[in-house]
């Protein structure tokens, strides 16, 4: 048999990295742009008055069409506030072009990017809410997470919370002279909050949330038949089972049809980022579990990746494989859960969800045996893992358990799911054509994960900017093109099949690396970042791109800035766009198809 030779096409010239190309092109056109000169920082410093032009050029000319993350940083020592923008090229993948704009702390005016990217809407409101950055030209700039009438900007470095003890943990009162006290005994209820001057809580009329209801009434011409009909503005939530948590929608309706919608959130806000900035680096890992509590393993992963970039640690091979195992199992668990809830929202109460939960339970049993907890796993550490795989899970040897789970149980439930949901005509009727979002809208609204891929954008961080060992694994990125609820459902189903494919490839590696090291160096509790700097760690969470933006001072023991790009939060931005014109019953389904977890939305 003749030997077949495969010709390898060589690239003519090594193509320039898209990020470098975009940065140098920008610098050529805008000579006032400079590099971020601080050690271990990167990005382009853009003067506030040039920001819109630069961003438009970046989007239209350089192809960086996706604004992933917008956040603020308080540089109190320089008297400045900084806004950091992470943009990506969805077609070519790769790393980000980072724009940074610094403004005076007492006069923080930055042009809003909402005209270019509507996806900046909630993120800019968040930066306004927590840092007091004024985005000029923003259509609806008001507080989003804190309540109206809240005094101060919590993420500024000089703001102190009600139970403030010290700037950084560990607190001195705990050891060696520990005398136990309760924070609320020192700072009594009712005296633990500050209000703006002249503002009295008892004068607040809770029934008239003027700002929220502003612009919600819709003027409509008198109907031809002359029957007097009114539009009604109703509140759905915050306490409502279909909102998946404490999430509120102010909806103006004509009969059953949604005309306008405003999401109201922040009921579960605990200022995770401020807590994170008081915490030590290590202390933040269990807190990340509590963001998207359905997929805590992958939350851990994103955070440790960001800190590992700062530390420069090398993760041992076995630890990487176990990480991928955990993260892909988490993806399956999350999608089973979200599909179960979507079916719930469609009105098929509990039955489908409970069948899917059986397999979820088995995976959680495994998490519990490995990490010690079913949902709050706290399993990953900087440079590795907390523990190796357990010896046995529910009385079965671990390797045998995983083999059976991955090769028998999970494929079986996915097949069953296909038969009784995918083929079900009612599910189809209720979801095809509902909550549509075009490709352009999905990109400009900064949606991510299954939302983006259901609208025809084949973008997955695991492929676009591979981390861990994802570049060595063989898997496809499912994509569909209609951008409706049905496609989001199908993308999730297909992703579970892809995750299974990855898991089948991971298992042999686990056997091969058995007994290998799982941690780089010795376990350390006082982690210090030797040189300081910034890092952005992002992973493809089941719900979309989860990013951690962390900055640290040299030899710092705690993050200076700790920001989370939360997929559940940003995916809510196009909620109004998707639900206008549909019935209320469909609105619930549209919300279910986004797959939000309020722990992550409100942080």
């Amino acid at each position: 048999m003749a030997e077949t030779t495969i010709e390898v096409l060589e690239n003519e010239a090594p193509a320039m990295d898209p990020v470098e190309a975009a940065v140098s092109a920008l610098k050529e056109q805008f000579p006032e742009l400079t590099d971020d000169a601080r050690p271990n920082y990167s990005g382009l410093m853009v003067p506030a008055d040039k920001l819109l032009e630069v961003a438009q050029n970046l989007r239209d000319e350089q192809g960086f069409n996706y604004l992933s993350s917008v956040t603020g940083v308080d540089l109190i020592d320089d008297g400045k506030l900084e806004v950091v923008y992470h943009t990506y090229n969805l077609d070519k993948g790769g790393s980000s072009v980072v724009l940074k704009t610094q403004v005076e702390r007492d006069n923080p005016n930055v042009p809003s990017l909402v005209p270019l990217w509507p996806g900046a809407d909630f993120q800019e409101r968040e930066a306004y809410d927590l840092l007091g950055i004024n985005f000029e030209g923003h259509p609806d700039l008001r507080r989003i997470l804190m309540w109206d009438g809240f005094e101060g900007y919590p993420l500024r470095k000089d703001w102190k919370e009600a139970y403030y003890e010290e700037d950084h943990k560990p607190f001195g009162s705990r050891w060696p002279g520990g005398e136990v006290f309760r924070a609320e005994e020192r700072n009594l209820y009712g005296k633990n909050v500050a209000y703006p001057r002249g503002w009295m809580p008892q004068n607040l009329d809770a029934d008239t949330d003027d700002e929220i209801y502003a612009g919600m009434s819709v003027n409509r011409p008198k109907s031809k038949t002359d029957i007097r009909t009114d539009q009604v503005t109703v509140n759905i939530g915050p306490q409502h089972p279909s909102t998946h948590g404490v999430f509120r929608m102010v909806v103006t309706m004509d009969g059953e049809t949604v005309l306008k919608l405003k999401p109201v959130m922040g009921y579960l806000h605990r200022n995770h980022e401020k807590i994170g900035e008081r915490n030590t680096f290590l202390g933040n890992i269990p807190y990340t579990d509590r963001l998207d509590y359905i997929s805590s393993m992958s939350n851990n992963h994103g955070y440790v990746l960001a800190i590992e970039k700062l530390l420069g640690s090398q993760v041992p091979e076995r630890a990487e494989w176990i990480r991928i195992l955990m993260v892909e199992l988490t993806r399956i668990v999350n999608h089973l859960w979200s599909i179960g809830f979507l079916i719930n929202d469609l009105g098929a109460f509990q039955t489908a969800m409970l069948y899917l939960t059986i397999e979820r339970e088995l995976v959680l049993d495994f998490f519990e045996a490995a990490a010690g907890s079913r949902m709050m796993c706290n399993y990953m550490r900087f440079g590795g893992l907390a523990f190796d795989l357990p010896r046995e899970v529910r009385g079965q040897e671990t390797t045998a358990f995983l083999d059976e789970l991955v090769h028998t149980r999970l494929p079986k439930i996915l097949d069953e799911l296909d038969t009784f949901l995918t083929g079900n005509e009612i599910v189809r009727e209720r979801s095809v054509g509902i909550g549509k979002m075009t490709r352009e809208q999905a990109i400009s609204y900064s949606t991510c994960g299954p939302m983006l891929r259901a609208s025809g954008v084949q973008y997955d961080v695991r492929r676009a900017e591979p981390y861990s060992y994802y570049d060595q694994l063989d898997f496809d990125i499912p994509v569909r093109y209609n951008g409706d609820v049905w496609d989001r459902y199908m993308v999730r189903v297909m992703e579970m099949h892809e995750s299974l494919r990855i898991l089948r490839q991971v298992l042999p590696h686990l056997k091969a690396t058995k007994g290998g090291s799982i941690l780089d160096g010795k376990p350390q509790y006082n982690v210090r970042i030797p040189k300081g700097g910034e890092a952005y760690g992002r992973v493809e969470n089941p719900k979309g791109e989860l990013g951690y933006y962390v900055t640290a001072k040299p030899k710092g023991t705690n993050p200076e800035r700790y920001h989370i790009r939360a997929p559940s939060f940003i995916n809510l931005t196009p909620l109004e766009l998707m639900s206008v014109g549909h019935k209320v019953a469909d609105l619930v389904v549209v919300l279910g198809s986004i797959d939000i977890v309020l722990g992550e939305t409100d942080r």
């Binding site: 943990k169 560990p170 607190f171 009162s173 705990r174 050891w175 060696p176 002279g177 520990g178 005398e179 136990v180 309760r182 915490n279 030590t280 290590l282 202390g283 933040n284 890992i285 269990p286 807190y287 039955t351 069948y355 059986i358 339970e361 088995l362 049993d365 519990e368 045996a369 490995a370 990490a371 010690g372 907890s373 709050m376 706290n378 907390a386 523990f387 357990p390 010896r391 899970v393 529910r394 009385g395 079965q396 358990f401 059976e404 789970l405 028998t408 149980r409 069953e416 038969t419 009784f420 949901l421 083929g423 079900n424 005509e425 009612i426 189809r428 376990p523 509790y525 006082n526």
Partner: protein
Amino acid sequence: MYGLGVLKGLGITLKHFFRTFSDEVKWSAKGGRYYNDDALAVRQSLKTEGAITVMYPEEKLEAPERFRFVPFLVMDDPATGQKAGKDWCTSCGICAKVCPPQCIWIERGKLPNGRPKPEPLNFYIDIDICMNCGYCAEFCPFDAIKMDHDFEIASYDRSAAHIHDKERLSKPISYWRSIAPGRAADEEQARIEEEEKKKKKKRK
């Protein structure tokens, strides 16, 4: 045919429905599907068929060794007639420093001359604040603090019952060996090896 998908789906529901009953029939000769340890073990394994319900509180899931819920302090097994043994804790304070929500308070012991004594005078954990992350047990260099498996600690009065003091926290080492035999044995082995290393160093 329109509606066939719905019928097939209902078939699956029916299958699940009957599986539970066939399983119940299968177990009826062997002590029943519920309130039976053997049946529970199968129901919670990969071999499970039908409903996976655990009849809590009559039936309880066995906690895996690494399960973590609220720390306890390790002490030697008390001698006969005595209430408490020697604490393993040296009040070095690592657990209080590593604790993410800062729920541990330690008062270090003092010698008569005022110098620190390596044992805790007082040790408090506010279990309302504890987030069960397990860092204290993970980073304790003396294996003196461990995560418990006892999760049924609800009480009527939070102000009195939810700050655990040293007396409430201390449990004998035999208890740890009973809830996590594998890990306790591993730690024992590691301590012996460490001791031998030290001896060798001294000889050199």
